[in-house]
């Protein structure tokens, strides 16, 4: 929420981090390249410092003597630019690969979940699109910065040691109290800060909640009161948060302080050393070039830590998203099975009940009935009575919470049946391609036959369909679903309100196709339409 680009707050629970590292591993070459580019930036910084120092040192010998070193400085600056670009490029590539692979897994899990607990669509979408997208910052900024924060200061200090061991020692020595300060800040105070950071995000959380509850607030004429309460709560929370930020910001101030003081100490030591005014005999001989070199390099020692601090916000966002995405991405979906039912099966529901997660009452409480092989049964009843649930049970998409559902005595597995719903899936391509999804190896003749059985003339098979199903009328969409059922050669057909929202003509056409489809197959149809139910051999009524 806030742009707290700082190390002020302790890291969140490490679980999200471990998972992020694990899912990034298959694409670690890019990650390593990004980290390497970030580390190499320090090497280029050494080149820059050396160029400046030597150019200044040679300036007294004339322009020509200084020019090559000045050129080195300029070239090093250019290289630093290119490395910055390369680091972003590699890291973005890794992030893109990770997002693609995680999104694939999240989507597969969401698909299985949507089958089991219909109605979770909104949250599944948020997770698969925005949740996965939020992982990016971790790979893009945090991971390379973290790798460099360990290695880069060592490289810089080593380079300083070549010119002036004592200066290297000074800078290294400032790291000790810095690390101690960070460790001190990492204890109980840190937990408090974390708690308050959560409180800070509650500022917008409360606002979000009251917006969400707006229908109730309006119905109770409570908007004025809630608005005032929102302001008071915000102000109160702001004061409490500020009290803690006062302490929390100390750790980023300590980073600033040690970064600044290391430069100051190096400058003062070098200055006094060159003047010969040090109160002790230095163990080394400084000259102007060396002094300038270490001085220009001194701020670079703390630069990686500052970059890491700036990546804090990205990391926070990504790890929070990871916490939400991980459980879904780690769900192992059942491998799709394509069983084949040779003959129309008998379907038995024995004392079946389903309790959806989060619900109190069961849908279909102790529901029993048998469907004979080849029978055509219509399920009717008010919405919420469990018609669709019964179909999903027969499809094997959800297991019953109590009781048993069997097809010819065996548990149903998805893949053995044909499904006709209200909104069949469409993919860009011809209508024939879309029908063929039900059986990928079907011949053109099979597809044409299935289409004709569903009432789609051969002339429309080549019609292009776009991503959103544009090119199909509402009635044609249903017939596409029916054509798939014909093509699938399944001997059990499940139809979920296949004629809902159709006009009378389209409904009549669809009904003819359904009658043809039911011939020689076991058929279960959930419907609100009395006309559709009347075609069935038997009607089963479900109570609310």
């Amino acid at each position: 929420m806030l742009s707290t680009s700082s190390i002020d707050l302790p890291p969140p629970a490490p679980r999200g981090r471990a998972w992020l590292a694990a899912v990034g591993r298959p694409f670690s070459p890019q990650g390593r390249s990004a980290a390497a580019s970030t580390v190499l930036d320090s090497v280029a910084a050494i080149g820059f410092a050396a160029g400046i120092a030597l150019a200044l040192g040679r300036l007294s010998h004339g322009w020509m003597a200084a020019a090559p070193w000045a050129l080195l400085a300029v070239a090093s600056a250019a290289v630093r630019g290119v490395l910055a670009r390369a680091a972003i490029g590699f890291a973005a590539r890794q992030a893109a690969e990770v997002k693609r692979s995680v999104r694939r897994r999240v989507f597969t899990a969401a698909l299985a979940r949507e089958g089991r607990e219909p109605g979770s669509l909104g949250s599944a979408l948020a997770l698969a699109v925005d949740g996965v997208e939020a992982l990016e910052g971790w790979y893009l900024r945090y991971a390379p910065a973290r790798a460099a924060a360990v290695v880069s200061p060592l490289i810089i200090i080593a380079a300083m040691a070549v010119a002036s061991p004592l200066c290297a020692l000074i800078v290294a020595a400032t790291f000790a109290p810095f690390i101690m300060a960070m460790a001190l800040a990492g204890g109980a105070a840190a937990r408090e800060a974390r708690r308050q950071f959560d409180a800070m995000s509650r500022l917008s959380g409360r606002f979000a909640d009251r917006l969400r509850a707006l229908p109730a607030i309006l119905a109770f004429d409570g908007a004025g009161r809630i608005g005032e309460e929102l302001q008071v709560a915000s102000e109160e929370l702001a004061e409490r948060t500020l009290k803690v930020l006062r302490i929390a910001f100390v750790s980023s101030a300590s980073l600033e302080f040690f970064a600044a003081i290391s430069v100051a100490l190096v400058a003062v030591y070098c200055g006094f050393g060159l003047l010969g005014l040090l109160p002790f005999r230095p163990p080394e001989r400084l000259d102007l070039v060396r002094a300038i070199f270490v001085l220009v390099l001194a701020p670079e020692a703390y630069l990686p830590m500052r970059r890491l601090a700036q990546a804090y916000h990205e990391r926070e966002t990504a790890e929070a998203a990871a916490e939400a995405v991980r459980p879904v991405a780690e769900e192992l979906p059942r491998a799709p099975v394509r069983a084949v039912l040779i003959r129309p099966p008998a379907v038995r529901f024995e004392e079946v009940g389903v309790v959806y997660p989060g619900a109190e009452a069961a849908v279909l409480d102790g529901f029993s009935f048998d469907v004979e092989p080849g029978e055509f049964v219509a399920l009717v009843g008010p919405s919420g009575s469990g018609k669709t649930t019964a179909l999903r049970l027969a499809l094997g998409l959800i297991p019953p919470s109590i009781g048993r559902v069997t097809l010819d005595g065996a548990a149903p597995v998805p893949g053995a049946v044909a499904w006709v719903g209200q909104s069949p899936v469409v993919t860009p391509g011809s209508l024939a391609d879309n029908i063929r999804l039900a059986r990928m190896d079907a011949s053109d003749a099979d597809v044409a036959l299935a289409a004709a059985s569903a009432g789609l003339p051969t002339s429309v098979l080549d019609r292009p369909i776009d991503e959103r199903g544009g090119g199909l009328s509402g009635g044609e969409r249903r017939r596409l679903a029916l054509a798939r059922a014909f093509l699938a050669q399944a001997s059990l057909v499940l139809l979920d309100e296949p004629t809902a929202d159709l006009d009378a003509t389209s409904e009549a056409e669809a009904m003819q196709a359904i009658v043809r489809l039911a011939r020689g197959r076991t058929t279960l149809i959930a419907t609100h339409s009395a006309a559709v139910a009347a075609m069935a051999d038997r009607i089963v009524r479900l109570a609310a």
Binding site: R85, L211, A213
Partner: protein, 558 residues
């Protein structure tokens, strides 16, 4: 006289403020009249102490940062030359070495002060803005307001407010950049005007080109990313909606691949934006480095220590400018956020008035019914025939067509905004609860309710034992949207909340759905008693027979 105001005007004109309300669609608010700007300006004034402190601290930090490096460079170089020429005795080393340490300290303190004061200003200011926004949304016509109470719209609004907050925190930073640049120019000027001029020119390039690039980058790819993400959501939603079909034909892998393919466009757009960002970082880094070298060249007439001082000052100044340029990246998003927030600011709520019991007239399918206060009505019809919608229109949670219902003899469509709501206490089919405690939820029903009244209402909703089992009782937290309660308990809490409201009519939508028979019987019996003693009327929608026995009248909708 009447609690209800009669108006012949269309509703929009009747309620004054709302008639002028721009729609959600992005209408560019004119600079002068922007109410959000006015609100923010007022908050800037109110927080001027915090902001001034933050700006002063930023100035100190910015200038000290540049001075630290430049002075250090000068000191080391001058000391080196003095050591070579043996002019050590005449060299004033105390002043510069003290100044260096002072600069190091001021930079630290300045940064700390800037961050703290900036956050103080933002956190304190935004409480007021959030409240104003909430009131603005709540006073909008129901159709518009409720569009925001779920999903995308709500998330958008929250993000937009957070963007405002970030902008507020960053406000003082520009003073820091100005100070860093000013310090850089002053120090470079010591080496002669060509150095200062060169730095000024480079800084102008760094800031202007940088900002321009960052802004156009964000605009171009920001839009691309937005639309790619929308397309991805559509594609995923279509696939998820067909989950059973996909399972039936064993298409899971195909569907997952299709979803992943759709995410490629989004990935490409993001990659392109990152690539462009990378080039920008490359250009600004190279410009800072090369700028230092160029300033050094311009200073070739000056003594060496001064030339070096100028170069390092240039480096510091240019780096500060680069940081300022990068922030322009957020500008298009911020402007869009402000435009989206603008329509919601500045409206005021109609004052709720105490409701005198009014009669109700309702139209059903081929029949109509007139109710006097105290009547009990059940609205019947198969599912999907519009029973819940009718209740929501009575409660003004939907657009209200003419000729469907009257309250106190006035057609719904002619009631002023919020005028009819006082008549009803509503427990909807899917209840919305506030995140917070049981008490907070019940207070929505009656802001002045005493504990005994709350417990009585909970008892009548068969929820007393459950809440009493919490150690905190009424102050027990029920989680976001009542997440720590079961579906049935959420429903009963919503029922208790409706019981607490002093309204002539109780409006209950499937109040006992999901309850076992014994609990249902208890709830119905207590509801009957409540209606008897309070003289409230009842409008009921229920599929279950038990609550329907309470009603003496029926309105079929189909």
């Amino acid at each position: 006289m009447d609690a209800l105001t009669l108006t012949d005007e269309p509703r929009g004109a009747a309620s004054g403020v709302e008639g002028q309300r721009p729609r959600i669609t992005a209408r560019r608010p004119d600079r002068q009249g922007s109410r959000l700007d006015a609100l923010l300006r007022a908050q800037v004034r109110a927080r001027r102490n915090d902001l001034a402190l933050a700006a002063a601290a930023a100035v100190v930090a910015g200038a000290a940062g540049v001075c630290l490096l430049a002075l250090s460079g000068w000191f080391v170089t001058a000391a080196g030359l003095a050591g070579l020429t043996g002019a050590v005795l005449g060299f004033n080393y105390l002043l510069p070495s003290t100044a260096i340490r002072l600069a190091a300290l001021s930079r630290t303190v300045g940064r700390y002060g800037e961050r703290l004061a900036g956050h103080a200003a933002a956190l304190r200011a935004l409480g007021r803005v959030r409240a104003a926004l909430f009131i603005g949304v709540a006073s909008a016509p129901a159709a518009e307001a409720l569009q925001l109470s779920t999903g995308e719209g709500c998330a958008r609004l929250i993000d937009d407010v957070d963007a405002l907050q970030t902008q507020f925190v960053r406000r003082p930073a520009r003073w820091g950049v100005a100070a860093a640049l000013a310090a850089g120019l002053a120090l470079a000027g010591l080496a002669g005007w060509p150095s200062a001029l060169m730095l000024a020119a480079l800084a102008a390039v760094q800031i202007l080109c940088g900002r321009l690039a960052a802004r156009s980058l964000a605009r171009r790819w920001g839009e691309e990313i937005q639309s790619a993400s929308g397309r991805l959501k559509d594609a995923c939603a279509a696939l998820l909606a067909a989950a059973p079909e996909i399972a039936a034909y064993g298409l899971q892998d195909w569907a997952a691949e299709k979803a992943a393919d759709n995410s490629r466009a989004l990935g490409e757009a993001r990659m392109a934006m990152r690539r462009a960002e990378g080039w920008q970082a490359c250009a600004s880094t190279a410009l800072s480095g090369a700028g230092a070298a160029l300033v050094l060249l311009c200073a070739h007439g000056a003594p060496l220590p001064i030339a070096f001082l100028a170069a390092l000052a240039a480096l510091g100044g240019l780096e500060a400018c680069a940081a300022a340029a990068r922030e322009a990246q957020d500008e298009p998003a911020c402007r869009a956020a402000r435009q989206r927030l603008e329509p919601w600011i500045g409206s005021s709520l109609p004052t709720p008035r105490a409701a005198k019991p009014q009669g109700i007239w309702l139209k059903g399918k081929g029949t109509e019914i007139t109710l006097v206060p105290g009547d009990r009505l059940v609205i019947t019809g198969r599912s999907g025939c519009g029973k819940t919608s009718l209740l929501e229109r009575l409660l003004e949670l939907r657009e209200r067509p003419r000729g469907e219902a009257e309250i106190g003899g006035v057609d719904l469509s002619r009631l002023a905004q919020g005028e009819g709501r006082g008549q009803f206490a509503y427990a909807p089919q899917s209840p919305t609860l506030l995140a917070g405690t049981v008490r907070e939820n019940l207070l929505l029903g009656d802001p002045c309710a005493a504990d005994t009244q709350m417990w009585a209402a909970l008892a009548d909703a068969a929820l007393e034992a459950r809440i009493a089992a919490y150690p905190a009782g009424l102050d027990a937290d029920i989680g976001e949207a009542g997440a720590w309660l079961s579906g049935g308990e959420r429903k009963r809490l919503s029922l208790a909340r409706a019981y607490l409201r002093h309204s002539p009519w109780l409006v209950l939508d499937e109040p006992t759905e999901g309850l076992d028979r014994a609990t249902e019987a208890a709830v119905v019996a207590r509801l009957d008693q409540r209606l008897r003693t309070g003289g409230q009327g009842l409008l009921l929608v229920s599929h279950r027979p038990a609550p329907r026995t309470l009603c003496s009248r029926e309105l079929p909708l189909d």
